[in-house]
């Protein structure tokens, strides 16, 4: 039952967010509030709760709750960042729809529902990717139009591939009585379809062109949805599905596994090379995401239960660390008005907190020997590749350090003119106008954030020309006027220091009239006294200071996301334990036997929940006994075969929430 609030909030927030799109302020308000509510609802998802919808159960798990909490938290923080650096249009409603679909996919015990839901959850990403022409020029430039068309076509094809691959995988995992004796070919086709769907959505290297185009679309913060959150959810489901082929052997299956291994290796190396060669921050972030997606493909190619726990931990770290990286790129571009590396020389001197955030992101992504995330990556390399290629894990780490180090090295170079003229992260406080000698400098300094913000919002990625002295002088007048408005609170005490002229004495009036006059002026006097109080002045100054320190605030927010990522990477928030618990599909896939097919008179198809419904036939002794579970594959839980004595999916579905299997509860 604890899942219902989350699903309701996601559905309502998505619909309301789309309806509110024409009104910018309302859309932002609805988006942030709905995401905050969804985050709280995700936190309250209980690990072993279940909800029956018809004959299908939605059984929550520890990992599902943690994944959804992390994803909604990242999306919320990116949207808060977007309030300053540029609101990601349609990100909030699209992300809420995606998270709702992921919630159903992670909790449904019927594989057909799982894969239909995961396919549906991939669709909203297109809202962010091609949902707006605002990022492009309004003029019908042929090159821009061609790029827009290419993005639309590739996104639609990717969506079709994910949907078709998911449905084929669902058909395969439910194991109807195939005509072919071994049915390994069917599983090989389904395995390849699902693996290719994951690879294409991540943008793995042979399929990296659409992902590369996305980085040039100006989606900025919206990049996290199609490249991080959606493929990660797909990866979680694909990992659980892959347990169905653990025990299978066949030539076609070997070919499919080898294909995925090749794609993974190429992605690990060439993704990092792409990040090293590109100069735009968005492209560097995109290729960094692509490179790290190679580990998910390695987990799929491992065909080993021990890889699943590591892959799940990696996926949670991936969504938080890469969300932080996307936010980092957006904030750095906004702060200095450019996303080109040659314009950003010396950025670290002006934005040291962003530098710390980048280091934290690197630590969260790579870890060090002995840390949970490092061991997870090492496990995936060991299990996913033959021993001769294990050195590629170290090569991938070195290449990642190289492109992250390149970013830091550019930040340590002598400061460029653009970076030097930007406000940086230094805290600022509104200066009173009465301080005459310091006023011009203070006013100019106070005006910088607003100027920078306006320029960056209008043309966030285009390099701005450096103003000449005359232009700067002309701009200074505007800046001074703007700053006078912002610091009028500070100037208020100076004005109030001059006493107002006394009211004229009543000419021959009675004493009663004098008292009445004083009473009439009392509210104004009280109001004036309240305005003159130091507390009110401080509050107003604080408000002005809040506006003046946008750069500092956004940097701190990025640092907060990175801190969450590093905490999860080192096992915080129960991530290590949750990664071993898995999702409901694990329990549904692992003990799935070759079902006797009774023809079309069977009430509902061969799914574990359908067989255990109230009006369904009772489970046969073969399927209800845990013998098949204990002797067969143990699912993709990290504990592998040692947990094979746990209850099967059939028993879990029939017993309800109190007796859910350990793959779901994490016990």
């Amino acid at each position: 039952m604890s899942l219902i609030p989350f699903l309701a909030i996601c559905a309502a927030g998505s619909v309301l967010g789309l309806l509110a799109l024409p009104t910018r302020r309302l859309a932002r308000l609805v988006g942030v509030v709905a995401l905050a509510a969804a985050f709280v609802a995700a936190l309250t998802i209980k690990p072993a709760d279940s909800l029956a919808v018809g004959q299908v159960q939605l059984a929550t798990s520890w990992y599902a709750g943690l994944f959804l909490s992390a994803a909604t938290a990242c999306c919320l923080m990116l949207c808060i960042l977007g309030l300053v650096v540029g609101w990601p249009v349609r990100l909030a409603p699209a992300a809420l729809a995606t998270f709702g679909g992921l919630a159903v996919a992670f909790t449904a015990t019927d594989p057909a529902v799982v894969f239909a839901a995961i396919g549906a959850s991939a669709a909203p990403g297109i809202l962010v990717v091609i949902g707006s022409r605002a990022a492009e020029s309004d003029a019908p430039d042929a090159a821009v139009e061609t790029r827009l068309l290419d993005v639309s076509l590739s996104e639609l094809r990717t969506l079709g591939l994910i949907a078709a691959g998911s449905l084929i995988a669902a058909a395969a995992v439910l194991r109807p009585s195939w005509t072919e004796s071994g049915s390994t070919t069917v599983f090989a086709v389904a395995y390849l379809a699902l693996g290719v769907a994951v690879a294409v959505r991540y943008g793995a290297v042979p399929f990296h062109v659409p992902a590369s185009r996305l980085s040039k679309r100006g989606t900025k913060l919206g990049l996290a949805l199609p490249l991080v959150w959606i493929p990660s959810g797909l990866g979680v489901v694909a990992l659980s599905w892959s347990a169905s082929v653990f025990q299978m052997q066949g030539d076609w299956l070997d070919v499919a596994v080898a294909s995925l291994q090749v794609v993974a290796v190429v992605t690990l190396i060439l993704g990092a090379v792409g990040a090293l060669l590109h100069d735009e921050l968005e492209e560097i972030a995109t290729y960094s995401i692509i490179q790290d997606a190679g580990f998910v493909l390695l987990a799929l190619a491992a065909r080993d239960g021990d890889a699943s726990g590591s892959a799940r931990l990696w996926l949670i770290v991936f969504i938080t660390a890469k969300s932080a990286l996307v936010g980092w790129v957006a904030v750095l571009s906004w702060t200095f008005g450019s996303s080109r590396l040659q314009d950003l020389r010396g950025w670290l001197r002006r934005a040291p907190i962003l530098g710390v955030a980048l280091v934290v992101i690197v630590v969260a992504t790579l870890g060090w020997p002995g840390s949970a995330i490092y061991e997870a990556r090492a496990t995936l390399v060991d299990l996913g590749l033959p021993s001769e290629l294990h050195f590629l894990g170290f090569v991938a780490i070195l290449l990642a350090i190289a492109y992250y180090g390149r970013l830091l090295a550019v930040g340590l170079l002598p400061t460029s003119v653009r970076v030097g003229s930007a406000p940086g992260e230094r805290p600022r406080w509104p200066v009173p106008m009465t301080a005459a000698p310091a006023a011009p400098a203070a006013v100019a300094e106070a005006a910088k954030p607003a100027r920078t913000r306006a320029a960056a919002t209008s043309r966030p990625t285009v390099a701005r020309p450096i103003p000449t002295e005359e232009q700067a002088a002309a701009a200074f007048g505007l800046a001074a006027a703007r700053a006078r408005r912002t610091t009028r609170v500070s100037a208020a005490p100076a004005r109030l220091a001059t006493p107002p002229p006394p009211p004229p004495a009543p000419a021959g009036g009675s004493h009663l009239r004098v008292v009445a006059g004083k009473l009439a002026r009392l509210p104004a006097r009280l109001l004036g006294a309240a305005k003159r109080s130091p507390l009110t002045a401080f509050a107003r100054q604080t408000r002005v200071a809040w506006r003046l320190n946008r750069t500092l605030e956004t940097s701190l927010l990025v640092l907060a996301i990175a801190a969450v990522a590093v905490a999860i990477a080192f096992g915080g928030f129960g991530s290590s334990g949750a990664a071993g618990s898995g999702i409901s599909l694990d329990a549904a896939v692992a003990p799935m036997p070759q079902l006797p097919n009774t023809g079309s008179d069977q009430p509902y198809g061969p799914s574990p929940t359908q067989r255990t419904g109230a009006d369904s036939p009772a489970p046969s002794p073969t399927s209800s006994s845990s013998g098949s579970a204990s002797s067969g594959p143990s699912g993709s839980a990290s504990s592998g075969p040692s947990e094979s004595s746990g209850p099967s999916a059939s028993s879990s579905a029939s017993a309800g929430s109190s007796q859910l299997p350990s793959q779901i509860t994490g016990d």
Binding site: V56, P124, L149, S152
Partner: protein
């Protein structure tokens, strides 16, 4: 007596042929509506009222999204590249193959579901390979619909939540296609114009006027027919 699933399968294939064979965007939406409404009925026994209602509602919503984007943008696709006769022949061939191939024995669902699914997948191939957004959206919808029909044939009757999830998937795909149609370029550059060293005549400027009704060869060189007002 002809079973309802056979009639529904015929409706699915007929609607799909209309969707991939016509140029008018609204006709494409109408054909897809017929196909998506009839698809849940290709089952034996027929789904219960709640599941059928969910499927039909999802189909109407998905078709409306396409209809709205096609109406607002006065969008029209390029039409079938091979002609509707060839599309019909290909679909009929795939349908016949689906009737005579048994991948699962015994088949839990109706055999016509497998046949219709194969026909839809064959019909979806050409639009998915093309560069027309409207046709590509229709092709992706037909692909998903075809695979879901195959699933229904191989796995037997679906649970209501499964039907709801597939309806949501179709709505999501249709919504994505409608968004792509809505933002499609106003003037498309030339498709597959081979580069040549011989200087050719300059390409004509894109006109802001609505073009004359398109016939087979009345297309302006270098630009597609689609001009959005």
């Amino acid at each position: 007596m002809i079973e309802p699933s056979v009639i529904a399968a015929a409706g699915v294939v007929a609607g799909s042929i209309v969707a991939v064979g016509t140029r008018d965007g609204r006709a494409v939406a109408l054909g897809l509506l017929v196909a998506m409404v009839a698809a849940p009925l290709v089952a034996s026994p027929l789904p219960d009222s709640l599941a059928a209602a969910a499927g039909i509602l999802g189909a109407v919503l998905a078709a409306y999204l396409l209809w709205a984007s096609a109406r607002v943008n006065r969008s029209s696709g390029a039409g079938s590249g091979i002609g509707w006769v060839a599309e019909t022949a290909a679909a009929a061939a795939a349908f016949a193959i689906g009737l005579n191939v048994s991948l699962v024995t015994p088949l839990p669902g109706p055999i016509v579901a497998q046949a219709a699914g194969m026909a839809l997948i064959v019909l979806a191939v050409v639009p998915i390979m093309g560069r027309d957004v409207m046709r590509l959206g229709a092709g992706v919808i037909l692909l998903v619909l075809g695979v879901s029909l195959l699933t229904a044939a191989w796995l037997g009757p679906m649970a209501p939540l499964t039907r709801l999830a597939i309806a949501a998937l179709l709505v999501g795909v249709a919504g994505a296609a409608s968004v792509a149609i809505a933002v499609q370029p106003t003037v498309l550059p030339a498709e597959a114009t081979p580069p040549t060293d011989i200087p050719s005549s300059p390409a004509p400027e894109p006109s802001t006027e609505l073009p004359a009704p398109a016939t087979g060869s009345s297309r302006l060189p270098g630009f597609s027919r689609r001009v959005r007002p």
